[in-house]
Amino acid sequence: MEPINVVKSVIAPLDRKNVDTDQIISKEFLKRIERTGFGKYLFYHWRYDENGNEIPDFVLNKPEYKEAKILVAQDNFGCGSSREHAPWAILDYGFRVIIAPSFADIFHNNCFKNGILPVKLKEEEVDEILAKGLQKPYTVEVNLSEQTVTGEDGAVYHFNIDPYYKEMLLNGWDEIALTFKYEDEIKAYEEKRVVFK
């Protein structure tokens, strides 16, 4: 997993609540057995019409947001299916940070396993950032060590993050290798585990 600390880019404003993982990556793209190559299918049915042509109104199709590494959305981002193909598609497309007032639990967990930083800000702060970004391209710098989002206009927003996941993202750790250090405790647990014959 690629470590992450500072990401600076224009934001892609997606002013929607309850963006579910079926929208992020549609079921027809879940049959592949690889982890990569999902970026071109990200938000497929919002990005393309039935003939495969770009829908010009959709945020990711607007030229000013094409280079965005930071996605900003409303409440409950990533709800629904547990498919990790959703964060894989987001990462493969080029996003490293998602800012929203809240995230669905499974999606939130999946982000940390893939080097994507989910930033929770207050609803009014997200509204403010979205409003700026919708008006004209708005660049922010997200700093994980400092736990800040700083706008090009000098606006600073602070966010909280679980210290364990912060370390993991900063260092790009392999969680399984870390867990192997607890092998003795896992064994000890297995010996006293309740099992009925």
């Binding site: 309850n18 079921k27 049959k31 592949r32 399984i176 297995e190």
Partner: protein
């Protein structure tokens, strides 16, 4: 101190606890299917790791499988994914209920059926509807593929302890109202984010009165309420359901039962949050929008923009109605449907099929409606056929299929065409869920059956009353 079941099960699975870290939890049962596992097995291979406890894993094929000719998979990518699971299970020594195997079925239907699902277990699967197993008092939740890999190699997971939420469903359900209507009513009342960061325990008279299969329907959709998991304290019904099941304890069954019952929430225990709803006020539900909270009772109407305060919510309503092809204020009973899907991990068990069969018996599916029944598992299908339910459905004009996830998410050929409308007993009405441009209305099996006959949504209570009088 009085404890709730969530605390009891969580605490009994902590392998390692340390300030500033999530808990390391032991996982008792890992269910596996073809869609969310290939990258996890590949990860093991690349790192030269093994499956720590293949004996605690059980795999099946459900998402991609055809429901007509089960051995003919036309999509080469789907076929590769199916074959990959078979190879992985063989290589790592994991039990697999392959296509055509008598144990095959939707992973959340076969777990309980085989007695793999038991109270007090921690159960995970790379599928959000793993919450279904909570009906037994298990702590069951969906995980991503990286976590699947973590469980395969360590049989544990790092998890922050969620908050606890009690949803008390008081009173008795009205005639013709079902478990599906309870959970749709809960989500409509408090929204799809109501359970975020929480594990729900469903309690109250209406929940105690439900059968195990109905309890599974409720817990199944906890994820649609945004919860990490949803569960119900075990009682005698739980114990009786498990007695004699293949993977349930045998010689120590009574001892196990005693332990299971001891896990039920203690009288006087507390939760971080408590919500209450009166079962007697719940009507048969129909969703009209593009997330499961966008629903109302059958006697209701599609809302209007004036019903919402914020511009974001008004906008969300307009977007949903545009997608669904509905008008603001339209009565629910005026909505005509072209498809009916009875199936999915929410409502494809024997009791669901019995309820639907009772309604369609001796009638015909309305002209222009295509209706399919997809049993949740091979055993459900067999049991239904032994009772003659297949004949009732077929005579009424339904298609009788083989088990799988099918049109709930349309990963196989069972897709709803763009712009067409489906009364579905599944769990998600997201845009494109059942096919690009497809319009999904979530309902109970009883409501779906009545809609199939009438070609539009009708109040199944009136329908059942007329039946009784006739």
């Amino acid at each position: 101190m009085a404890k709730n079941i969530i605390e009891k099960v969580w605490e009994s699975h902590v392998v390692h606890r340390e300030e500033g870290k999530p808990d390391l939890l032991y996982i008792d049962l890992h269910l596996i299917h073809e869609v969310t596992s290939p990258q996890a097995f590949e990860g093991l291979r690349l790192a030269g790791r093994k499956v720590r406890r293949p004996d605690l894993c059980f795999a099946t094929m459900d998402h991609n499988v055809p429901t007509k000719d089960i051995f003919t998979i036309n999509d080469p990518i789907a076929k590769k994914q199916i074959n990959t699971l078979a190879k992985n299970c063989e290589e790592f020594g994991i039990q697999l209920a392959d296509i055509g195997h008598p144990d095959q079925g939707i992973v959340h239907v076969i777990g309980p059926e085989l007695g793999l699902t038991q109270p007090g277990k921690t159960i995970v699967c790379g599928d959000s509807h793993t919450s279904t197993h909570g009906a037994f008092g298990a702590l069951a939740f969906g995980i991503g593929t990286s976590e699947v890999e973590h469980v395969l190699s360590t049989q544990t997971l790092w998890q922050n302890k969620p908050k606890t939420l009690e949803i008390r469903v008081n009173g008795k359900l009205g005639f013709g109202v079902t478990a599906k209507d309870i959970i749709l009513a809960i989500i409509a009342k408090w929204g799809v984010g109501l359970g975020t960061g929480h594990i729900i325990e469903f309690t109250g008279e209406a929940i105690r009165n439900l059968s195990m299969e109905e309890r599974m329907t409720i817990c199944n959709m906890s994820i649609e309420a945004g919860a990490k998991a949803g569960l119900i304290s075990p009682d005698e019904k739980t114990v009786e359901f498990l007695r004699g099941r293949r993977f349930a304890p045998k010689e120590e069954f009574d001892k196990a039962a005693e332990y299971w019952l001891s896990l039920a929430s203690d009288p006087g225990c507390t939760y971080d949050k408590v919500l209450e709803i009166d079962a007697s006020e719940i009507e048969p539900y129909v969703t009209w929008g593009t997330n499961p909270s966008m629903g109302t009772g059958i006697t209701g109407h599609v809302p209007t923009a004036d019903d919402y305060e914020s511009e974001t919510d008004k906008q969300a309503l307009r977007k949903a109605l545009e997608y669904m092809g509905l008008e603001e204020g339209q009565p629910i009973t005026s909505i005509e449907i072209q498809h009916v899907f009875i199936g999915s991990c929410t409502n494809s068990r024997l009791s669901d099929l019995r309820t639907a069969a009772q309604i369609v018996k001796g009638k015909k599916v309305a002209p222009g409606v295509r209706a399919i029944v997809v049993p949740g598992s091979h055993s459900v299908k067999k049991a239904a056929e032994e009772e003659g339910l297949d004949k009732i459905f077929i005579e009424a004009g339904f298609e009788w299929r083989n088990s799988g996830c099918s049109a709930c998410l349309g990963m196989n050929e069972d897709i709803i065409p763009a712009g067409e409308r489906c009364a579905s007993t599944s769990n998600r009405n997201f845009e494109g869920r059942q096919g690009a441009g497809a319009r999904t209305h979530l309902v109970s099996p009883a409501m779906a059956a009545a809609a199939a006959i009438e070609g539009r949504f009708v109040d199944v209570r009136e329908y059942l009353k007329q039946e009784q009088e006739a």
